[in-house]
Symmetry: C3
Subunit: 349 residues, 3 copies
């Protein structure tokens, strides 16, 4: 053992490996405030401990995507340090609320491997879990990522491709939401009187506003998550890379789009699950992000009478307003689309 | 009801309307730290809980302008989403201290309306209040703003222009300051031995330092306040607008100038009231802000023996140092002036 | 007394002066979070209160360099407002841990003065101490700085040059580390199984990653520390200065390098002392910082069996990766080197 340890290459992974990631992270009101400064989310539940308590939370829960990014960040040094591309997410569920003061660590199981036909890289599938200081899972998701081989001559592993659900089942949603006291849900403070019953599949919502991404912002965000992927930070070496510049962490764009979606989805206070996510194209500092959403499904959550689920498809674009709802036609994305995110939100009934 | 709700246009306002703004906001030590990182204020009272307690506060109070910006931010979606220009402030009083952990919401009363002669827009006057989790008012101010009409054919309302005081009366100041134990006021820690009695009207103070505004900073600040005014965030559409670029939130410049004013006004630990404020010209990322102040009045506060009030006129400039005290000559502002702020500060006697 | 007070020039200093610096500062979880966003440190001890408690801390201690920068920031208005250059540090020791909620103030003793032969400036030596709300020293260091004279005709003081230790003695280290319960030190969570016994003098470690510095970041950092040195903030006047632009606070580069050094020094959880530090060249926004380290010495700390000390020499560069270990040859630094930092870290045994 000497010097800097080599990050894992494709041939270093094996199905069945359990990776206990480094650096547990206590999340605090400081993280919440920075998240606010970076994205400006406006949901009353996360913004106000008074509102949160009034509806049955013990305190204001942390933003779901903040939790996601922090868990994701822990996995980067072990999984995607030598990644060529982050290919997708599936079966992402938010299982328990996370509050300021909680400490999260992360563990990943390698659940699939498939070498690419070019022999130079392969796809690694992991199921990652975020775990709080009490040993409880707060988040679980599958991600797959293309990782380089260090030695092209190393043998290909037997291919194992996990069977992943297209959509998280509605009955598996809502673990992170305590039973809500809806008489405490002040619609004026929440920003809208439109509840779960007021949305129907097929509705399209232009979130209208656009937000320009700055280099300082996306790097501060990505470091807040202790995500060390080099492509986000190193202008000098990226100048010689494929894009000639630093790439914005895809999760940053997800959070920008989520905050924009308050315009029209005011009461969608919680992301209950992410069915799939695709970073269609990279984003760079200077890009202005816009977003629109379509309600694609609607479901009851078990026998809960307090909240229902809406399945939302959100598209984010760069330098293209979304009044024409630019999305996907078959396999082709329209010009400017950078993100397609398929997820369930919880909304009061 | 469908999609994104339309923000209010001029014809949507009526005198007597009460607007209960969305998104209550719990302020925390995280907000204080970001405010510090954005402006670098140096007053011992807000910077040190030990100092604050020693002089009679229960904890370090939040910076007054942080409170102002957060209350202001809540009002934007209901009042100024379709604003052409923010025209002025008056009768702004800080009524109670705000501490980390407090939750603020905001309510505005429409107190005046006057359609412009061009028939395309009008001026809306609101009195806004910031209210804490106990239902107590912490801040009150009047602001007037020019708002577009959606339909030029809609009838003009009867003009109502409120009668506003030029200056907040000195006896109405100081509600946010508990009785101070001045023996605990360590002048070395506070940064100066100059107290209320040492200033006289007519004194001019060049605050010397200059601070350059970056795009990431003013956007992070404005989002921290959950102020959604589009002109601050959307480089893409602003490129086609009047200024060709994003405009800095005027309140950001107020906070920069306030922090600079520590040089020479070290013991002016509290803004007790804002008599009037005028954003003379817009600021943009890349501008360097300087500031100078004149003491224009001096008053006792009721029969308080602990603190007195100084009325201060602060001018901020861009790309122009203030050693020549650039201000206003009659109705004309000197080159480079971006802000004229007329306010009362409290200082130990 | 009138207007803005003049900052100290060389002739205003005298050996034996005691300077009680203004603006006590309560450090909070907010500061920790911003520090995280600015640098992305990954040591489990500072990142996780659960980890910290498990090994014997009462809570997660604040990052050592955050403490250093905050104490340093307090001294700037009194010592280096009129500084030409910050020349060096010595005998810097971290004496007690600092936790969120602690309030720090700073006091400096002038311990040396020497006018330069050109008669226009001189070197001021100060020993500065950071003191917590209980009156306990948490940090002590010597720094010397070149300060301009206001009046070249003012007489030169008798030269006094303090005798400074090349290296802090190993027996003086470790005051900021409580007795550790090493059975609680989870090596997977800490990021490496390499402990004190696994390093030997002579080992060189390329920290691999590079991080580009943005203007918004270094200014936010420097303001967080309430460091008011003008060269960092004022683009307008710096455009006319020697470098034509704002200079990054040298301490910002130290923190970037320290965070990068986690790659290879994972268990070096604490900076116990800084023997010397030299800002070889200035850094500017847009520069990408890289770093490498050499283990130059190894020592037991008194009769502690829990931790040992490694003396580390870290070099940071700009726009030059460190795989070739660029450093110093005699008195000459290799192209691109911006920082040479000689310090002791503590590591579990």
């Amino acid at each position: 053992m000497n010097g800097t340890s080599r990050a894992r290459y494709f041939e270093d992974f094996a199905v069945g490996q359990v990776l206990e990631h480094a650096t547990p992270r206590t999340l605090t009101e400081g993280d919440t405030a920075i998240y606010m400064a970076l994205y400006g989310p406006r949901s009353a539940v996360q913004s106000s401990s008074a509102f949160a308590r009034q509806i049955g939370y013990q305190a204001a829960p942390l933003d779901d995507l903040l939790v996601f990014h922090v868990v994701f960040g822990r996995t980067v040094p072990d999984i995607s340090a030598n990644a060529v591309a982050n290919l997708g997410y599936a079966e992402c569920r938010f299982l328990r609320p996370v509050f300021a003061g909680d400490t999260l660590c992360a563990v990943s199981d390698v659940i699939g491997l498939r070498q690419n036909s070019n022999g130079r890289s392969g796809i690694v599938y992991v199921r990652s879990r975020g775990i709080n200081q009490n040993g409880e899972d707060v988040l679980e998701y599958v991600r797959w990522v293309m990782v380089e081989k260090a030695d092209e001559q190393s043998p290909a592993p037997d291919p194992v491709v996990p069977n992943l659900a297209d959509t998280v089942a509605a009955e598996d949603l809502g673990g992170a939401v305590p039973p809500l006291k809806l008489f405490g849900w002040d619609m004026k403070l929440a920003g809208s009187s439109r509840m779960w019953g007021d949305y129907e599949p097929g509705e399209r919502i232009d979130h209208v506003d656009g937000v320009t991404i700055e280099a300082a912002e996306h790097m501060m965000a990505t470091r807040l998550y202790q995500n060390t992927a080099r492509v986000h930070f190193d202008r000098y070496r990226q100048a010689q890379g494929r894009h000639g510049r630093r790439i914005v962490y895809g999760g940053h764009v997800m959070s920008v789009a989520r905050a924009l979606s308050f315009n029209g989805l005011e009461n969608a206070f919680h992301i209950a699950a992410i069915n799939s996510g695709r970073h269609v194209a990279p984003c760079f500092a200077g890009d202005t992000v816009f977003a629109w959403s379509e309600v694609v499904d609607k479901a009851e959550i078990g026998n809960r009478s307090d909240i229902g689920a809406l399945r939302i498809m959100t598209y984010a674009t760069r330098d293209r307003p979304c009044d024409t709802f630019p999305g996907r036609a078959g396999d082709t994305y329209e010009e400017g689309v950078v993100l397609e995110l398929d997820y369930w939100v919880a909304m009061p009934r």
